[in-house]
Every structure is written in structure tokens, then in C-alpha cells.
């Protein structure tokens, strides 16, 4: 059995009396894509934020490659090999797009890897090339459309050359065509290989998404949350038929 890359055990986060995630446990294996689903307010984004160290868990533990990453700073976690994109895109609006990606290419992890490490601009350009927005590299990030901002987020995340990528609603606000393109990009990234000077070993992924149809196509496993509690974990077609998942989405009685 393959060693698990990420191990979440009994993870809980409390804001006062509100349990946002409650005793969540699951594992992510190497080269696996997990789709994280659940209705609004289920605690999906909070879970990603807990993994990234943006929030500190109230209970439980998170182990990455066997190492407990509870309490580590966000940048230390990124340098261990986890990267994330944000649901509400957070570009550096007044900086050129290439500078946005250069920031993540300058992290210690990315600087140590690859033979072209000194050429940060070239590496950032390759990340943009992969994301498909290299033609706009010199434009200010504030000029980008919603879809291109999502692409910029992906380019920034892969700039750190992660082993685990956390994508928070990568298809959110995209047109059907853009969604298809984004899904293709995610699959290509997961396959791994060299994208110019950028090396991808094919990161494992946790994808939070509401567009279930697209998610089913790319995810190996689905984890469903409701009110902060894990209600299902299994193959995509099993999870969507799970009565608890149907009830969480559509209320008692299902559709």
C-alpha cells in the first residue's frame, strides 16, 4: 500500500461555540486527486486553511509526509511542498502578472529546485505559459478577467513546485468553455512533467468545488462534508449516491 501523503486525524476548528470542522479524518495518497464537496458553510475552505496553516486547529493533527505540520507557519508549510489557490482570488493587483508569479518562484523551495533557478523571470514565464496567460505577462494583474485570475492563481501555486496542491473552487465563476480548459490544465498538471524550466512531479490535489460534474471527471476520490463533519469518503459514483450527501445538498427526502 502506498504511503499516504497527507493524513488528517480528528481535525477540529472552533470559533467560539461554533464548530466549523468537527473531528474530520481522512488520508490522501501520493498522486491522488480528492474532491472536497459539501454545501455552503460545510467547512471546506476552513479545512484547506487549516492545512495551509492560515488557521490554527483547535484539535486533531495534520501530517504531511509523516511530519506533523500543526502550528507551522504558512510559508514553512509551502516550503514543505503544499501550495494553495484562494477561492476569492488574491492577486497583487498593482504588480505586473509576471511579478505576481515571481513572488512564489522566489520561495526557498522553488529556489532550491531545478537547474535554472537563478532565472526567476524565466521560471515565472513558464508557469504563466502553462496557465495560458503568458501573453499578458506585462499587464497589471488588475486588468485580468475572472477566468484569467483563476489561471494566475494556478500559475502562482505551481511556481512553488508543490507536491500537494489545494485548489479552492478552481471552476468558480468560469464559463463552460473556461471550465473545460481549466479541467484539462489540472489534469495535465497532475500528469506531471517539465513545463519549460518548471518541473512538476504531478502533485496530489485536494479540489474544493461545487461543479460536481466536472469534479467527478478528474477526482479519484470524493470527501463530503456537512456542517463541519465528514459524511462520506469514497469513489465519486458511490459518494453522489450516498443518501447522507443527497440529504446535505437537497434537504430531507432528497430530490
Amino acid at each position: 500500500m502506498a504511503e499516504s501523503l497527507l493524513e488528517i486525524v480528528g481535525l477540529g476548528k472552533r470559533f467560539g461555540g461554533l464548530h466549523v470542522t468537527n473531528n474530520v479524518s481522512f488520508e490522501l495518497n501520493q498522486h491522488e486527486i480528492i474532491g472536497l464537496i459539501g454545501p455552503n458553510g460545510a467547512g471546506k475552505t476552513t479545512l484547506l486553511r487549516l492545512i495551509m496553516g492560515i488557521l490554527k486547529p483547535s484539535s486533531g493533527s495534520i501530517r504531511f509526509k509523516g511530519k506533523n505540520i500543526n502550528g507551522l507557519k504558512t510559508w514553512d508549510i509551502v516550503n514543505l511542498g503544499i501550495a494553495c489557490t484562494f477561492q476569492n482570488m488574491r492577486p497583487f493587483r498593482r504588480l505586473p502578472i509576471i511579478a505576481n508569479v515571481m513572488v512564489s518562484c522566489m520561495c526557498p523551495r522553488a529556489m532550491k529546485r531545478g537547474e535554472w533557478v537563478k532565472r526567476i523571470e524565466a521560471k515565472a514565464m513558464d508557469a504563466l505559459e502553462f496557465a495560458g496567460i503568458s501573453d499578458m505577462a506585462l499587464e497589471k494583474a488588475s486588468t485580468l478577467s475572472q477566468g484569467d485570475l483563476k489561471r494566475l492563481e494556478i500559475a502562482r501555486a505551481i511556481g512553488t513546485e508543490p507536491e500537494l496542491l489545494l485548489l479552492d473552487e478552481p471552476f468558480g465563476g468560469l464559463s463552460p468553455l473556461e471550465t473545460d480548459l481549466m479541467a484539462k490544465s489540472i489534469k495535465r498538471l497532475h500528469k506531471g512533467g517539465r513545463f519549460g524550466r518548471l518541473h512538476s512531479e504531478g502533485p496530489s490535489m485536494i479540489i474544493v468545488e461545487h461543479k460536481l460534474q466536472q469534479l467527478m471527471k478528474i477526482a479519484d476520490r470524493i470527501v463530503a462534508l456537512s456542517f463541519g463533519t465528514l459524511i462520506a469518503d469514497g469513489k465519486p459514483d458511490e459518494v453522489v449516491r450516498n443518501p447522507q450527501v443527497i440529504e446535505a445538498y437537497f434537504g430531507e427526502g432528497g430530490i
Partner: protein, 346 residues
């Protein structure tokens, strides 16, 4: 002989293709040459005195821009760095007889340490809370200075510091050349990869952290760098005035530096320098109209901020130069096409 001719031609070509093509670069060149030539035309002590102080405050304003403009760590108590450096310079020069060429670098180191001391508690704060916290530090230090009059001289301060040099013209050249060198260094820092990180921290700190960058380190670096440059300005000021008093820590000075910087245009380094070079001599020369001096000053600043919210220099620059929509290189506004890629500028 041939290679000398080769280099002369190379420099001339560079000058023609890189400097003469942009009005802003020509203006900068004229400004630098004029500054260096002023003592050749006039050695009026009052004029040189004003320009010396202008140069010192330019370094100070640019250091504020490095911290608050570029890194977004809004500092309402920037006079702290200036005052600590001035007092350090004064104390070690008067009591320990340390010569000025050592006391000024030591003052800059004091500025760096002050940056660390202020920076560490301010790491968790941002926006209004950070601004108000930084405002408290110089006030606390002023209290300490009044509490220890036997060391600090209390309200009267420390006097009898060594002169910076033997003549006013030398003083002028030392401060002006230092101003040009230090502001160039600051500009190069902001133009470097570190500058990109500082700018990114200003935009969105969490996103920088998610990019694997230790933002704490870079914010402290910004505090220390800013403290260093403000420290040199403080050290120079102490030796030029030959006296150091609590006025170097005044809240008014902290706000003055913000007015100069915002007037000139923040996030540019050259903006605050230009702001000081316009506003400080103006305020000095308006002393002939004591009754309306502050009114004229305030109206001028107010009008600039209303009609040029980015600041005076970026506004002028955008009027006389255009950015190419394709390659982002700037060309003179009278051109119809980009000077590099020939794209239409209309």
C-alpha cells in the same frame, strides 16, 4: 587610443538612446547637474543651508516611502528613527568624542536597531492600528528624554557637536552626494526582486505567505532598511545643526515627512525626494510672508492632492510620457508610436 574612442562612443550612444529619449530622465540629469553646480555660481550661506537641509530631509522622506509606500507598513512615527540616530550621533560625539565620520554610521546602526525594536511588536498589526502604534514610539522616547535630562540635556538637548566639515560648501557636497547615492540605492532596492516582494506584501500579505515567502523577515528587513537610511539622515542633521533636541522626535516631523511624500507621490522613491525639494525650500522662502505662509503651503498641498491624487511627480510623468500598451516601455508623449516596438500609442 582606439579603445578610449570606442568607450566614448559607447557612452555617447547610451546617453543618446537611454537618457535623451525620455523627458523624465533628462529632467533627472538636469536636476543632478544643477545640484552639483550650484556652489560654482552662488555660495550664499542661507541658500546652501536650505539645500543641505533639503537633501537631508530627502533621504528621510525616501526612507519613509521605502517602509510605508512600498511595503505598506504605514509609519506615523518615522521621526523616531531620525531622532534616535540624531541623539546617538550627538551623545557619542559629545561624550565619547567619536568623530563624525564614525558617529554617522553608528547613528545609522542605531536606526537599524530601532527598526528592529519597532518592527517586532508591529509585525502583527496593519493599517490604522499599525499607524497608531508607530505614532506612540517617538512620544514614549520624548518622555524618556525629558526624564533623563542629565544625559540627554532634557528640553535643551545636546549641543556642541563637531561640524560635519570645515566649510559650508563641503557640507553641501557631502549631504547632496550622500542624498544622491542613498536615494539611488533605495530606488535600486525597490526595483530589485526584494522590491517586488516588499511591494507584494503591501498588496496582500497572506497571498505572499501562501507563495512560501517568510513575510516577517521581509517586513523586518523593510523596517531595518528604512531605519538605516533615516538614521543616516538623522546623523547628518545632528552634525549640520550641531545640536540635537527633542524637536527631532516631534510628531510634527513625522507628519511633515508624510506630507512631503504624499505630495511628491508615494511608491516611487523619487516622488518624496521631489516633494521635499519643492515643499521644504518653499516653506523656507515663504518666511518673508509670515502671516500667509502656512495658508499658502496648505492650499498648495490641498490642491495637489485633490487634482493629482497620485502625487505631483507621477502626474507630471504621465502627462509628458506615455506607456506603450504592448511592451510597457515609456516614450515621450508627443510620439505616435512606441520607441521600442513601434506599437501605436494612441
Amino acid at each position: 587610443m582606439g579603445f578610449i574612442w570606442f568607450y566614448i562612443r559607447k557612452i555617447f550612444t547610451l546617453f543618446k538612446c537611454e537618457v535623451l529619449v525620455l523627458p523624465s530622465r533628462v529632467a533627472l540629469l538636469v536636476f543632478v547637474v544643477a545640484l552639483l553646480l550650484i556652489p560654482a555660481f552662488t555660495q550664499d550661506p542661507y541658500l546652501l543651508w536650505v539645500l543641505i537641509l533639503t537633501a537631508i530631509f530627502s533621504i528621510f522622506a525616501a526612507s519613509w516611502d521605502l517602509l510605508s509606500g512600498f511595503t505598506g507598513q504605514v509609519n506615523f512615527g518615522h521621526a523616531l528613527f531620525f531622532g534616535v540616530a540624531a541623539y546617538t550621533s550627538g551623545l557619542i560625539n559629545v561624550y565619547a568624542k567619536v568623530p563624525n565620520f564614525l558617529s554617522i554610521p553608528l547613528a545609522a546602526i542605531a536606526g537599524v536597531l530601532t527598526g528592529l525594536i519597532v518592527g517586532i511588536p508591529c509585525l502583527r498589526l496593519r493599517g490604522t492600528y499599525l499607524a497608531l502604534t508607530t505614532l506612540a514610539f517617538p512620544i514614549i522616547l520624548t518622555g524618556l528624554i525629558f526624564a533623563l535630562p542629565e544625559v540627554t540635556g532634557g528640553e535643551l538637548g545636546i549641543s556642541g557637536l563637531d561640524r560635519l566639515s570645515t566649510s559650508r560648501v563641503y557640507d553641501y557636497y557631502i549631504t547632496v552626494v550622500l542624498m544622491l547615492v542613498l536615494t539611488t540605492i533605495m530606488w535600486k532596492i525597490t526595483d530589485s526582486k526584494t522590491g517586488i516582494l516588499l511591494h507584494a506584501i503591501r498588496e496582500d500579505e497572506l497571498a505572499v505567505r501562501a507563495g512560501g515567502i517568510n513575510t516577517t523577515r521581509y517586513k523586518l528587513l523593510a523596517f531595518c532598511l528604512s531605519g538605516f537610511f533615516a538614521g543616516i539622515a538623522g546623523g547628518l542633521y545632528a552634525h549640520i545643526m550641531r545640536t540635537v533636541g527633542p524637536s527631532t522626535l516631534e510628531v510634527a516631523l513625522s507628519f511633515q515627512v508624510i506630507i512631503w511624500s504624499v505630495f511628491g507621490g508615494i511608491v516611487s522613491i523619487y516622488g518624496p525626494v521631489a516633494g521635499v525639494f519643492i515643499l521644504f525650500p518653499l516653506a523656507e522662502f515663504l518666511r518673508i510672508l509670515p502671516k500667509v505662509r502656512m495658508l499658502v503651503f496648505a492650499v498648495l498641498v490641498l490642491l495637489t492632492l485633490i487634482y493629482m491624487p497620485e502625487g505631483l511627480i507621477p502626474w507630471i510623468r504621465n502627462k509628458i510620457e506615455k506607456e506603450c500598451p504592448r511592451c510597457k516601455v515609456r516614450s515621450i508623449a508627443t510620439r505616435k508610436t512606441c520607441r521600442i516596438c513601434a506599437a501605436s500609442l494612441d
